[in-house]
Amino acid sequence: MGIFDKLKSGLAKTRDNFSSRVNGLINSSRIIDEEFYDQLEELLILADVGAKAAESIINDIKKQVRQQKLKAPEQVRTLLKDELERVLSKNAASKDMDLYPRIILVVGVNGVGKTTTIGKLAYKFKQDSKRVLLAAADTFRAAATEQLEIWSERAGVDIVKHEEGSDPAAVVFDAIQSAKAKKADIIICDTAGRLHNKKNLMEELKKINRVIEREYPEAYKEVLLVLDATTGQNAISQARVFKEAVDINGIALTKLDGTAKGGVVIAIADELSVPVKYIGVGEGIDDLQDFEPQNFVSALLDID
């Protein structure tokens, strides 16, 4: 299997070389030519931006380079960075959105980090002296409630839970009544991981969403889609279908402490106009950060 051997040696270099690739590329390129663009495109694809999206980004860049008669690769770097930042800043939630009471419905496919993100979010709001209530509406996965319960203890917030196998919408209903009684500022609802192509599971999610709209119209409602940065182009399909079902209005991008870049959110921000709000950078309770387009793009392109 000669192809494997060659690949292996080729890839051995890929990762080590990846950091400061753009810098290297830009510094080593004297002129802006096709090869330069190809390398730029490779970088974007390796960051999971997607081949189609990368192609269209490069085409935009080319056009601008022509129009502005740019000659130096260095100028292209700025151009690319600006372009990506612009896309990612689109529809960004205004920072001072301080609307309470609030309810956050957290959704996503299996294993992306929903429950962990909820633990981190609970802690964050608690630090801001908000009264937080967690709703353990993942009644499906084994020990999901126990997992959230441990996070509620770590964050020092209350939790509403039912038994495994019970109706998740009923958990949310109870949480809302409890929040009203206790005058909680914010409810965060955990939900079971579900693949977006499972019709019945998406229906279940819609039902939870309807309960929120009916029982808690006075609350500011946020639907947060959790995406794993390791995920490739399927994240677009996830975002599209979850948006159709429950109208997501923000993304939490997790596991950015690994080597994955999460570039697929660029296509999502562009095509679906759903902004990234938070990023997960570890398994600790304070490993959650507000999303900053500038920092994200710098990391994506390995430039500073």
Partner: protein, 438 residues
């Protein structure tokens, strides 16, 4: 209908050997398909180069266009790369066989451990699950619950480290005559040195017979880094691909196979605990290529098209003598390929929306046949003479309506026009519209 015929005609045009240009053109689309399926950039590059080299100069099968022929080669190469179906566990010469599950956070180790235990129990084994994830909240509890669901005992220890837990788990298995031990380890990042060291220590302590890397089928470009690191530090024996019941194209499978050379042994197909299946390289190959069952279609087309008739037809086309009789012949050819709805489903990029008003179902095909059969020979050769009264007669004879007869005649004219365009394009030497592969 017209689009359908168009594709049926395209396959008449491919003859001879694949030119460098044929291959390059088709490979551009292949490259895009692989990248959009999340196959790693470097893997794609290598693969495309390799297959391009291999394909140039190969003969084009009579019934295929060069584009189709290239796809056929690509598919064969992909299947070869993915390896054969090897859903076997390496059994220890002296039981218990120790299987260690490793992977990133959230990849599906715990569920897969329970599924695998259940799967092996059905084969007459007596497995023990060992809970080595002491980090994630309620991970041990989760394994206990799923273990109970598949009726497999779970070994766990409070206040012990994963190395000690796995060692004592192994002892426990020996005492309780469990012949398989499955270690469910905590998810970890491949660059987390300390956590990777923990796995190395477990390995050194219990000498697993199988180390299985659990990979989420939705993984993107980073799959190569993950697989490479885990393999370098642990020397894995195989891969389990999870969440394939989603709609991902699953290019990670190819990336992982390419960097580790290790077989994909099982795939996870759902949340239920018996949703574990052996791996099928051919299925994943066409899934990655994203062409539905286009390959099946190619095979069917190959089998169905009568070469001599095809040649005749091509001549007629060139001389623009295509008649309703030929139209009927073509319908029969298409019919041989199977139910139309099924054929339509097999075509990538063709959706019913795009087909617009040209609804093709088998019933309609039958009616079209009846209409043409009700025509006189002369009418078939010279449809222009079919006036109002002839239309009425034909409709009556075929048990259809005048509207249907009109529609057919219109479709026929449209087909003819399209084919004229098509043939003139061929003549001008440009293989326009030959986007992958129809």
């Amino acid at each position: 209908m017209t689009e359908k015929l168009q594709s049926a005609f395209k396959k008449l045009t491919g003859k001879g050997k694949l030119s460098e240009n044929d291959v390059k053109e088709a490979m551009r689309d292949v490259r895009m398909a692989l990248l959009e399926a999340d196959v790693n950039y470097a893997v794609v590059k290598e693969f495309v180069n390799k297959v391009t080299e291999k394909a140039i100069g190969q003969g084009v099968l009579e019934s295929l266009t060069p584009g189709q022929q290239v796809i056929k080669i690509v598919n064969e190469q992909l299947i070869e790369l993915m390896g054969s179906s090897q859903s076997k566990i390496k059994w220890a010469s002296a039981p218990p066989t120790v299987i260690m599950m490793v992977g990133l956070q959230g990849s599906g180790k715990t569920t897969t451990s329970a599924k695998l235990a259940g799967y092996l129990a059905k084969q007459g084994k007596n497995p023990l699950l060992v809970a080595c994830d002491i980090y994630r909240p309620a991970a041990v509890k989760q394994l206990q619950i799923v273990g109970q669901k598949v009726n497999i005992p779970v070994f766990s220890l409070e206040a012990a480290d994963p190395v000690a837990i796995s060692r004592q788990g192994l002892e426990y298995a020996k005492k309780h005559s469990n012949d398989v031990v499955i270690l469910d380890t905590a998810g970890r990042l491949h660059i987390d040195d300390e956590m990777m060291l923990e796995l190395e220590n477990i390995k050194a302590s219990v000498h697993p017979d199988e180390i299985l890397l659990v990979v989420d089928a939705m993984t993107g470009q980073d799959a190569v880094n993950v697989a490479k690191n885990f393999n370098e530090r642990l020397v894995i024996d195989g891969v389990v691909l999870t969440k394939l019941d989603g709609d991902t194209r699953g290019g990670a499978a190819l990336s992982v196979k390419a960097v580790t050379g290790k077989p994909i042994k099982f795939v996870g197909m759902g949340e239920k605990l018996d949703d574990l299946e052996p791996f099928h390289p051919d299925r994943i190959a066409s899934r990655i290529l994203g062409m539905g069952d286009v390959l099946t279609l190619i095979e069917k087309a190959q089998a169905a098209v009568d070469e001599k008739k095809a040649m005749e037809l091509e001549n007629k086309l060139r001389n623009q003598q295509f008649t309703l009789e030929d139209f009927l012949d073509q319908l029969h050819e298409i019919k041989k390929m199977g139910p139309l709805s099924q054929i339509m489903d097999m075509l990538p990029g063709i959706n019913s929306k795009k087909m617009g008003n040209v609804q093709v179902d088998d019933k309609e095909l039958g009616r079209i046949e009846a209409i043409i059969n009700s025509m006189t020979k002369q009418e078939r050769l010279e449809p222009a003479i079919i006036n109002g009264s002839r239309r009425r007669r034909i409709a009556k004879g075929s048990g259809t309506t005048i509207q249907e007869v009109n529609r057919l005649l219109k479709q026929f004219e449209e087909t003819k026009r399209l084919m004229r365009q098509f043939t003139s394009m061929e003549k001008s030497g440009r293989r326009g519209m030959l986007k992958l592969p129809f």
